[in-house]
Structures are given as structure tokens and as C-alpha cells.
Symmetry: C2
Subunit: 189 residues, 2 copies
């Protein structure tokens, strides 16, 4: 399997790739994350593509770059990273006792030596059912600091694991990368 | 929440409880793991109960003990830990490209100061869909040594993550403990 460049500073994505035995180096991107798109699957693909191409254009030809973006979607609204603790509290109140969707978009691209751009792009959806949360449980979780850098204000792989009743889809997609789909795409690159 | 005794030597269960913020100490059990039961949900509850009560009887009253047991079930057959590499290879060939169920049984019990035994017991099922596996992929996975101490010959949280297409249910149940159900049971203990 080819070595890749991961166009993401997320420590979760690094851990997932390392665990899955996929070799990579990290180059973070400064791509603009604002978009007018509203469909969750389109948003994450668009943002993953920007991150990927932003890094790709700084690399020599023959380099395979992977960009990814993860969001939480519920009732037609997209929840990104919370702006502050009050925002995190609002998000967690909304998620409590209900199901929502987590989307991760992935773009893998390579500029070949003869100038062609090869690109694979896809989005993976996982449904997540959160248990009821008391105000005390929300406050305790916010106090850990974990919500602040995470879409939807929670990380499934941390202490919030105790509040996750069930999921349907790829678990690792919720952490930040659909590992199986990425592995298959790179295996056949 | 009460401190508990975890009647299991599994490092995965320790990690899950630690991550979920549940305080515990470990006492391993020597309970016999043979059973004539064949229904997966009954098997894991029975074995979790034996481990739990085996440790409970060595503890002072007022101690809360948690026992757990995890198995893989497919086509009416129960897959435990593989006996050797050939057994692991057979299990992985069977799991490849298909869905199976992972059951974890949990028993939580306490002997009160006035001699009463309080006990909660349940089993949680998670469906897991594995992608197609080539003989090379199976050999590479066996070479890591990971399959040998794991029911069904795989650990979802390791390099095998790349072969897991999707799950339906509690992810942590597949790792070895249904964290949300355990948290709710202990919260209301």
C-alpha cells in the first residue's frame, strides 16, 4: 500500500491510521472551512477536497494526499465545533436522548508525473443514538474540556463513551475517519 | 458512583472503564468457563455470573463486583478464543464478507451487610459486518498475534479495524463491555 500524506492535524485521525497499519506523514492545511452548501454529505466532501488539494499543490507529483472533514447533522442542521462552552451545552442538550448522524467526507488525490489529477471522493454516514443526559452530566462533560475541539461537542472515544447507547455504521467514522473505506480505497489505488 | 471490583483480567475492559470515568480495582477469577448452554445471550450471562460470584465471595460485604464475558456467534455456532493459528484462520475465513453477532454478558452483584445478594444481569448484542478478506490479509493479521486471546479471533480496536465495514449496536460491547449499559446500571445502583 502507498504511503500517504494526511492533510489533517487531528490527533484522532492520526491514531486511527496508525492503528489500521496505514503509513502516513502529516501536513496540515489552511483551507477555508466556510461553505454555502447545506447537504451534510456534500459539505464534508467539499471541505475534505479543499484540505486535500491545498496540501497536494505543495507536494511533488506522485504524492498521495488524504483530506477528511467530519460534522454532526441533526434535524437538517449542521453542528460543527462549538464556539464556546455555552454553545457546547446547547449542542449536548440537543443531542441528548436522540439519534443524529455523523458524516465524514474523504478526498484522496494524486498529481501524476504527467500532470493528471487522480481523485477519489466519498462521504460515509453513521447514525449515533445518545442516551438521556442530565444537566449535571452535561456540566461534568464540559468541565473535562473534551467538547471544545470536536464536531457536535462530543468525542465518542473518550469519557462520553458512557452516554452512547448505540451506533449504526462505521464506528471509526464517528471518531473522524471511515477506516474501512479508506483502507479499501488505498489498497486499490 | 460506587467504586467497583472488575472480575476480569482483560486489558480492554480495564481501558474501557478507565476511559468512561468509572473507578475500579481488578480481581481476576478462576471460574470454570465450560457450559452446556448454547444460546449466546444465556452463555455470556452465565459465564459473567460465575466470574462475578467467584470474586464476590472473596470480598467483604458492601463490595460491588462486575463480571463480563464476550463471545462471537454466527450461524448458531459460538466462536470463543482460537485454540491455535489454524483455528484462528478458520474463524477469520468464516467471518469474512459476512455479518455476525457479538454478545457480552454482564453481571453486577453486591453482598449487603445484612446478607442479601443484589444482582443485575444482562446481555447486549452488537451486529458486526466484516469486509471480504484475502488469504494474504488473514495471514498478515494472524502474524500480528492479535487474534489469539480474542473471541472470534479478532479485535475490532486494533489493526483489524480496517476490515470492519459497519456495526449496529454498542461499539464498546464488541471491544468487551457495553459501556453505556454498565454506566446506567452503576449510576442507579
Amino acid at each position: 500500500m502507498r504511503n500517504i500524506i494526511l492533510a489533517s492535524g487531528s490527533p484522532r485521525r492520526r491514531d486511527l491510521l496508525t492503528t489500521a497499519g496505514i503509513s502516513f506523514e502529516v501536513r496540515t492545511s489552511d483551507a477555508d472551512e466556510r461553505t454555502e452548501l447545506t447537504d451534510p454529505a456534500e459539505v464534508v466532501q467539499e471541505l475534505s477536497c479543499r484540505k486535500c488539494l491545498d496540501v497536494l499543490r505543495q507536494m511533488p507529483s506522485g504524492t498521495v494526499v488524504l483530506g477528511a472533514d467530519t460534522i454532526v447533522a441533526m434535524d437538517g442542521t449542521i453542528l460543527g465545533k462549538p464556539e464556546d462552552e455555552a454553545d457546547a451545552r446547547n449542542m449536548l442538550r440537543r443531542l441528548a436522548g436522540r439519534a443524529h448522524d455523523v458524516y465524514t467526507g474523504v478526498t484522496i488525490a494524486e498529481q501524476t508525473a504527467d500532470g493528471k489529477l487522480i481523485r477519489k471522493q466519498f462521504a460515509v454516514r453513521t447514525a449515533v443514538l445518545i442516551g438521556p443526559l442530565t444537566e449535571e452530566e452535561i456540566s461534568a462533560y464540559i468541565a473535562t474540556g473534551e467538547p471544545m475541539d470536536k464536531a457536535g461537542a462530543y468525542g465518542i472515544q473518550g469519557v462520553f463513551s458512557r452516554h452512547v447507547e448505540q451506533i449504526s455504521g462505521d464506528y471509526f467514522n464517528v471518531v473522524g475517519l471511515p477506516v474501512h473505506a479508506v483502507y479499501e480505497a488505498l489498497k486499490n489505488w
